[in-house]
């Protein structure tokens, strides 16, 4: 399928999702749906680096935080529309991605992962000690009740924004997959030395992957302050973001753009249902159990069942 046609299908799917949400007509649906959509963006972003090039990033909360806290700063200092804040948050986060990539490019495997984990800890320390964004006390964001020009609630608006970001992220990931860039990423995952010998500029490609992946994570994090209305370092840098974002592509399958979506919808929905019906602690247990199950039964994720 050509890319424009695929984007059209994505838009149709998104319109149906939004139509369904309107039909249900329950504000909680938007709150829960936002989280699932956010995870579609996050896990798709993670998969660009983790699935395509094979570099496992544990520093997801740091990228989310760059997006979220840049929104806090912009909210306090400017009156930019949310879409502009997302663009800025995404750009800053992409920069962090490239920077992290540049500093850790000599590290492979577990060492790279540990470095990204350390980067998240450093970022948390910085934010916790940054008074302007509330430090450890956190920051309050008062969001408008409605969006005038669309005539919808603000939470519906946030849902719609996240739907748009999901389309953007998924379309990008799919476009990369079978492109020259995607083949380059795959050679890095398979064998970096052989990739260089075949003319692949591995360093440059790794930086591109880090930048794209970080950028989308930042964009997913940018609307967060408006969603939670109270942003504090402890919950922004929560380990559950990292665990969920990594678990979803692994459960869905890392080999294709579809995997992260499947994982995010399955795991995200299960967690939301469990949070409401049982308790929020159970949602983390679900991740653990599912992850163990998939590692044993289907190491290549749901997609792996359908491939030879």
């Amino acid at each position: 399928m050509k890319n424009p046609l695929f984007i059209l299908w994505l838009i149709v799917a998104a319109a149906l999702t939004f139509g369904l949400a309107r039909l249900v007509d329950n504000a909680y649906f938007y709150f829960a749906g936002y989280v699932v959509l956010q995870y579609i963006v996050l896990s798709t972003a993670w998969n660009i680096l983790g699935g395509y090039t094979g570099y496992v990033n544990f520093g997801i909360p740091a990228f989310i935080a760059v997006g979220a806290y840049s929104t806090v700063v912009l909210h306090k200092t400017t009156s930019l529309p949310l879409v502009a804040m997302i663009a800025i948050g995404g750009a800053l986060s992409a920069l962090l991605g490239v920077g992290t990539g540049y500093l850790t490019l000599r590290l492979r495997g577990t060492f790279f992962s540990i470095a990204t984990l350390a980067m998240a800890v450093v970022m948390q320390t910085l934010v916790t000690n940054w008074d302007f964004v509330g430090g450890s006390r956190g920051a309050y964001i008062i969001r408008p009740a409605t969006v005038q020009y669309l005539g919808i609630n603000y939470i519906e608006y946030l849902f719609l924004i996240m739907l748009g970001l999901s389309i953007f992220a998924v379309a990008t990931a799919r476009a990369i997959e079978k492109s020259r860039l995607g083949f380059g990423f795959a050679t890095i995952r398979d064998d970096e030395l052989a990739a260089e010998a075949s003319g692949v500029p591995t360093l440059k490609l790794k930086l591109i992957a880090c930048g794209l992946s970080g950028g989308f994570m930042g964009m997913a994090g940018s609307p967060l302050p408006y969603y939670v209305t109270y942003l504090d370092p402890a919950s922004t840098f929560s380990l559950s973001y990292a665990v969920n974002t990594i678990a979803m592509p692994l459960i869905g399958g890392t080999s294709s753009w579809l995997g992260p979506i499947l994982g995010a919808i399955l795991l995200g929905t299960l967690q939301q249902v469990a949070t409401v019906t049982i308790s929020s602690a159970v949602s983390l247990l679900i991740v653990g159990v599912l992850l163990v199950f998939f590692v044993i039964v289907a190491p290549k994720g749901i997609l792996g069942w359908f491939q030879k």
Binding site: F183, L193, A195, S198
Partner: protein
Amino acid sequence: MSGAQPILQVSGLSKRFGGFVALADIELEVKAGERLGLIGPNGSGKSTLVNCLCGTLRNESGTVRFQGQPMDGLAAHQRTRLGMARSFQLPRPFGTLTLAENLRIPLLYAVQTRDSMPEAAIDKRCMDLLRMVGLHEKATRLPKDLTQIEMRKLELARAMAAEPKLLIADESMAGLSNQEVDDILALLVKLNEEQGITIILIEHIMRAVLSFSQRLVVLVAGRKIADGDPRDVVRQDDVVAAYLGS
């Protein structure tokens, strides 16, 4: 020596790992279109030399010139793009890509940076290369389905896909049967004679090296101890001593 211009000039090349001198002051010239054999006992620095030539390792001193251009500071992928290709001692295929896709990589990343190639031409070239090494029927298979010799053929085909002027084949025949060795040798000679590709063959199998090489270089303990006509070189006392003990 008369005739063709040197395609590769190595002068004063040294490489050490900590206190261990892997290569000491290597001088080497390879003429365009030549078939050069490089031999030496295990650990003599053959693969290290290949890695220094191809940019996988950085040499501490000395220079490598390819087509007259110094290669100092150029990364491996840049050297590949300029026309220097290598195969690895142990085949390193891209495991998640099909055979055709494996060959697509150098076409996309080395050949296309020199001149553009339409999509259809790339597909055709991949199949032609696979046919050259007799793997065209397995184009959509993954490398894990290949036998040892097929793997080595894929390795050579991938190096060839980059359309090199100089091909460095690092022990592409280790562990193969006599017949298989002859197959690979015939392929290499064909590439050299029909396409004029300069080939450096690193090999342990004497029969193969002697029938292939026009000139033979011997490395022992990181030093070049002989360089010349293969028949003469293998009779030199120090070469015999290096292999059989004195």
